[in-house]
Each structure stands twice: as structure tokens, then as C-alpha cells.
Amino acid sequence: MFSFELLRDAIVLGLLLGCFYAAVSVGLSISFGLLDVPQVAHPAFLVLASYGVYLCNDRFDIDPLLAGLLLTPLFFVLGLVTYRLYYETFERRGSDAAVRGIAFFFGVAFIIEVLIILQFGVDQRSVTAPYIGKAWRFAGMRIPIRQLVAFGVALALTVLLATYLSRTFLGRAIRAVAQDEEGLRLMGANPVRIKQLAFGIATAVVAVAGALMIIVAPVEPTLDRVYIGRTFCVVVMAGLGSITGTLIAALILGVAESIVLTMFGASWAPAISFALLLGVLTVRPQGLLGR
């Protein structure tokens, strides 16, 4: 049964969902898109951040968003260490680093999953905040406030990152290392150090995205498996390394998924992301805003 009211609601909810997808994908856009690191443990880092936020909220009653921000330095260091380990054991040693790197990051993902299970058990965890579980009534619509929060934070995060990468010296160096590592070396910069810093930033962003993840829905240790397809789909569709493209791709995906869920039936929803990906790659093999 078609109705314009339903379609309008689907588009609005889809835009909010899309922004959330952008937030959980933007870190991967840097690590995988810009640095060519096969970071398949990205969703596991997200889940780890969610559990960190849960701990802060449950034990110290800290607001989940604030907890996410407080965790960013820790995740930055975690990113630095992870990249250094990956570099020393794989990247430095040969050209098939990416292939072997996938095994490394899968291993990291499994270790994170098991550590979470050992520490927290297998039960779902969620957080409490004044904006969770309530809706904002606007023009006959009821919009979940948690989704509005995710929308605002995701938008801010994307704009900040895009500005940082295009306006600052280190940001431009990160983009340069993605384009021509050898050229950067000739300019006197250390590409490994820059990549390590970039990986640190990408992992720090995950702390905030992890906070959004547990704000939007409860988390459990194996949730990373649900997100792995979606996040990689967004990053590839966006065009590798494009932060703005990540936002656009995530919005398209969110709206398409929401319309399908509302108007055509939920069974079709998983196919949508990959159908869109195939469609975009057919027309633009480099992705929406790829280089």
C-alpha cells in the first residue's frame, strides 16, 4: 500500500540511518581507503569501543557520547600500536602484505571478540542516556532522538575529518602517502610514521563511532560480523579514501534500505547495499568520488 506519508517517513529515517552508517564507516575510509591497510578488524574495534562506552556509562554514569570522546586518546594509541605491529610483521616484509594482512586483522578481530566474551560474557549490553528511547514529534512524524544524535555527531565527524585532511599539513601528508609514498619519502617525510599516525586517527574515530553504535542499538560481542559487509560496501562505493564520498554513499545506502524496508519488505534490504555497490561500480569503477 503506497502512501506519500510513508515514503516521506522512510526518506527521513533513511537519512538518519545513512549518517549513522557514515559514522561507523569513516574510520575504515582512512585505514582501508587511504592507507590500503586491509583493516577487516574495523567492526571489531567498533564493538570494543562500544563496550568501553558501556563500561563508562554503567560504572561511572558517564554520558555515552562523552565516554566515546574520552576513549579517543586510548583508541589513538591502540591504532598506533596495531599499525606498528602490522607494519613490522607484514608490510615491511613484502609485496603480498595485503593478503597476509587480512589474516592478521581477522586474527585481531577474533582476539577482540574472545576478550570481550571473557570479560563481559555473551549477553547484550546497552547504555542509558536521556536521548535514548524517546522520540521527537515533528509534522506528524515520530523521529527517534538517538537517531538524531547519531545524525548530528556523524555529520560533525565527517566534516571535521574532511577539513582536517584537506586543510592541515599532516592531513595533506596523509593524502599524499596514499597517492605516492615514494614521492613523500623524497620530500623528506617518513611515510611509515605518517601512515601510523593516520591509522591512529582512524582508530580514534572508531571510539566515537562505537559510542553511536551502542546508542543506536544494544551490542553483543559478535556484532562486528553484521557490520563488516556494510562498512566495506560504503567505503568502496564512496571511492577509496573519499571522506565526503563516504557520507554520500552512506546516505544513499541508508535511504535505499529504509525505503525498501518500509515499502517493499524487509527481506530485500540486505541485497540493496550490494546491488547499489554493483550499480555504482559498473558506471564508475573508482566509486562515487574516487580518485
Binding site: 500500500m1 502512501s3 506519508e5 510513508l6 517517513d9 522512510a10 529515517l13 533513511g14 540511518l17 549513522f20 571478540e113 574472545v114 566474551i117 560474557g121 555473551v122 549477553d123 547484550q124 549490553r125 546497552s126 542509558t128 535514548i132 528511547g133 524517546k134 522520540a135 515520530r142 527517534p144 532522538i145 538517538r146 537517531q147 543506536v216 542499538a217 544494544p218 553483543e220 560481542p221 559478535t222 556484532l223 553484521v226 557490520y227 559487509g229 534500505e257 529504509s258 524496508l261 518500509t262 515499502m263 519488505g265 524487509a266 527481506s267 534490504a269 540486505p270
Partner: protein
């Protein structure tokens, strides 16, 4: 007594001692199973296993079965159907177990049914739904109190119809268990002349339900029957609270897995108020049988150490009861022969901590004891409130009932 006689007596004593020594060290009776220790079903799997372990410890403290200790051989199936056929083949061919318990839940159990039927083995089912309906194995006995396949839908839709409901919405996860339930709900609705105005299967990877709930509310149903898995159940109720399902709805819930587990219940708190959902055991006055109270005293202590569901109502007592069934069958028949045990289980009523159990020809309970209960007066972040009666009032079945349905759903949520 000459030297030869003395030597003969000495040799006989050693021989007899050796024989009696062998009796004392007879190998244990091995019960093999896979159980979800990781993955989506792990919360249930761990609680179920603890219930079975408590039975094992009790029976061993009483001297074991047929004078032999009971040993459990357990492997993690990672909640996956792909793991269980190999695990059960190993249990039978390598570990040489004497008896089999099925894994927790439908999805991991379904692929081992052909194996046990082919080898003619007794299998104690552990909360799967209708896995034997097509296989037709006559040595299958499910401990879950589901009863006839359509009893869930009949009970829930019946309660909705009594409250004046005429139209039905179905929302089910796109997985074996939930789809089986949705199918029976469709049949029952058609039989009862209730039009289905919304019928959707959502994929297990769905993380956000706002759009689905918005579409559901637009269909203006009177009865909303949801068959969902733990992560989805929490997300659905959150979306219902934010988006709303409409004033028409008389009854909401039915088959939401997850709302039986302490972690989810504590997280959702007051969001569950008004929801009518299935359960298997609740701390209501009608649910205590011989040994129930003692079991939960032990479970509460061990659950803390084992970091599993602190309440354990849904699965743990049934794990214990599964052991009690085997214990009664083995003690009565003095045998471990699979056919003899199956015959005994089929032909008798068994008294357990979850009440009397009688099996029908399909190995399911002859009469359903699946509860439909309504959450009432639940507060946020308080797990201990669920230990007392009145928080989940039993509406069905009549013999266990402790209250009547409060409706419409929006009023019941207050």
C-alpha cells in the same frame, strides 16, 4: 594349609580384588552434546549447560547412573548449523558417548536429525522447534514445553481475539525457528478468519527497525505477532517505544526470543511493560514443583561464578529436567539400550522440577505448557524485581494462569 594352597588363595584374592577394582573404576556413562558457547545463541546455551551440569553433579553425588559416574562431553558449536554434524559424528565415533543431548536451539539441531535417525539413536531435544516434524524420528524427545506446533500462535492470537482483535500483523526473523512460528500463525489466523494486514520477514542482519515499525503501524493491525531473536527483540521494542504501533493494537509480542534472558530484561526494563510474550518458567505460584526451589537456589549461586544468566528461568531448569528424564528412564529399565530408553520415555509420565512431562507420538510434549505472560510494572535497571511474582503474569495456559490480559497495548504499557 600347604604352600600351594596358600599361593592359590593369594592368586584368587588378587584376581577377585582386580575384578572388584574394575567394578569400582567402571568407565563413566558419557553424555555427549554440542552447546552454543559463542555466537548469537551463547547466552541461552551457557545457561542450559549449567542446568545440565547441576543435574550431573547431583546424580554423581547420589552415586551416578547404574553405579557409574556421569560425564558430560561438550563442544562449542558457535551457534552454527555448519558445526553440529561434524561434532556429533565425533561424539559418536571418536568419543564413543553412550547418550546424546541435542544442542540448544533449532538451527544447530536441524542438521543432526538425519544422522541420529539413520543410526537409530535416542536424542533428547533441547529447545528446538519442529525439527522432527518432517524427519519423523521415533526416538526424539524435546524437553521444551512447546506441545503441538500451532499452540504458540493459537494461544497468542486467541488472547488477542478475546480482547476484540480482528486483524493480524506478522513480523518474523528470516530464520528457521521464527519462520516456522510465522507459518503456524498464518495458518491459525486463516483458520480463525482473521485477515493478515502486514506480513514481513526481516533478515537477521537488520540493526534498525524504525522503518519496519513505521510500516507496521501504517497497516493498523489489532494483533501484532512478533517472532524475533535476541538482538532484534531489543531493537524492535526500542523502535516500538519511539515510533509507536498505533492505538488499535490490543496485544503485542508472542514469540520474541531474548525477553526471557536476564541481561536483555535488565537492559530493556520498562520498555517491556505491556508486552505479552512466551516463556517456559516464571517465578509465579503455579510454577513450583518438587525440587524447583532447591534447583534455583543452587543455580543462583553457580550462575554468578559461571557468568551466565543470573535468573536462568527459560532454559536452565529444563536442562536439569532433561537429565532427570534420562535418569528416570535408565533407573527404571536398568539399561542404556537406546530403544529401551526411548520406549520408556514414550510410554510414561515423568515428574521433574518443571512439572509432569508426557510425550506425544512426535516426541514433543503431549500438551503445551508454553506460557504466554504479560510484563507488568517493570522498572528500569533492576534485575532482582524479576525474582518475585507479579512482574510477568501468566495468561496462558489456563491450568497455570495467574492473571488476565490488560489491553489495549498502549494502556498496558503505562
Amino acid at each position: 594349609m600347604n604352600r600351594r594352597t596358600m599361593f592359590g588363595l593369594f592368586a584368587a584374592a588378587i584376581l577377585l580384588g582386580g575384578v572388584s577394582g574394575a567394578n569400582a573404576e567402571e568407565p563413566p556413562i558419557k553424555i555427549g552434546m554440542s552447546m552454543a558457547q559463542t555466537g548469537g545463541l551463547a547466552a541461552g546455551g551457557k545457561a542450559s549447560l549449567l542446568g545440565i551440569e547441576i543435574w550431573r553433579d547431583d546424580i554423581n553425588a547420589r552415586g551416578g547412573l547404574l553405579g557409574r559416574k556421569v560425564e558430560l562431553v561438550v563442544y562449542d558449536d558457535k551457534s552454527s548449523a555448519a558445526e553440529t554434524p561434524a561434532i556429533y559424528a565425533k561424539l559418536l565415533d571418536v568419543d564413543k558417548v553412550d547418550l546424546l543431548f541435542a544442542p540448544y536451539a533449532t538451527v544447530p539441531t536441524a542438521p543432526i536429525m538425519p544422522l541420529v535417525k539413520q543410526r537409530g539413536l535416542l536424542l533428547m531435544g533441547n529447545f528446538s522447534f519442529q525439527v522432527n516434524s518432517k524427519v519423523g524420528h521415533d526416538m526424539w524427545f524435546n524437553i521444551a514445553p512447546w506441545g503441538p506446533a500451532d499452540s504458540w500462535a493459537t494461544a497468542f492470537l486467541g488472547l488477542g481475539q478475546k480482547a476484540g482483535g480482528k486483524t493480524v500483523a506478522l513480523l518474523a526473523a528470516d530464520q528457521e525457528f521464527a519462520q516456522n512460528l510465522a507459518k503456524t500463525a498464518r495458518d491459525v489466523a486463516n483458520r480463525s478468519g482473521m485477515p493478515i494486514v502486514f506480513d514481513q520477514a526481516y533478515p537477521p542482519s537488520t540493526v534498525e527497525f524504525s522503518s519496519i515499525i513505521r510500516a507496521l503501524s501504517a497497516a493498523k493491525p489489532d494483533i501484532v505477532y512478533v517472532a524475533s531473536y535476541p538482538p532484534d527483540s531489543a531493537a524492535i521494542l526500542r523502535a516500538v517505544n519511539e515510533i509507536g504501533v498505533g492505538d488499535n493494537v490490543k496485544i503485542f509480542g508472542g514469540a520474541m526470543v531474548g525477553l526471557q534472558f536476564a541481561g536483555v530484561m535488565e537492559n530493556l526494563g520498562s520498555l517491556m511493560n505491556g508486552v505479552v510474550n512466551f516463556n517456559t518458567w516464571l517465578p509465579e505460584p503455579s510454577m513450583y514443583f518438587d525440587g524447583t526451589k532447591k534447583f534455583f537456589e543452587t543455580y543462583s549461586k553457580r550462575a554468578v561464578e559461571a557468568k551466565v544468566d543470573p535468573l536462568g528461568y527459560y532454559l536452565a531448569p529444563f536442562g536439569y529436567a532433561m537429565g532427570q528424564l534420562v535418569e528416570q528412564a535408565v533407573n527404571a529399565t536398568k539399561s542404556l539400550d537406546q530403544k529401551t530408553l526411548a520406549k520408556y520415555l514414550r510410554e510414561h509420565t515423568h515428574n521433574t522440577i518443571i512439572g509432569p512431562v508426557t510425550f506425544g507420538p512426535d516426541g514433543e510434549w503431549k500438551e503445551t505448557a508454553t506460557l504466554e505472560a504479560q510484563f507488568r510494572g517493570v522498572k528500569d535497571k533492576n534485575i532482582d524485581q524479576f525474582r518475585s511474582a507479579g512482574k510477568q503474569v501468566i495468561l496462558f495456559p489456563d491450568r497455570l494462569k495467574t492473571g488476565d490480559l490488560v489491553f489495549p497495548f498502549e494502556d498496558a504499557r503505562q
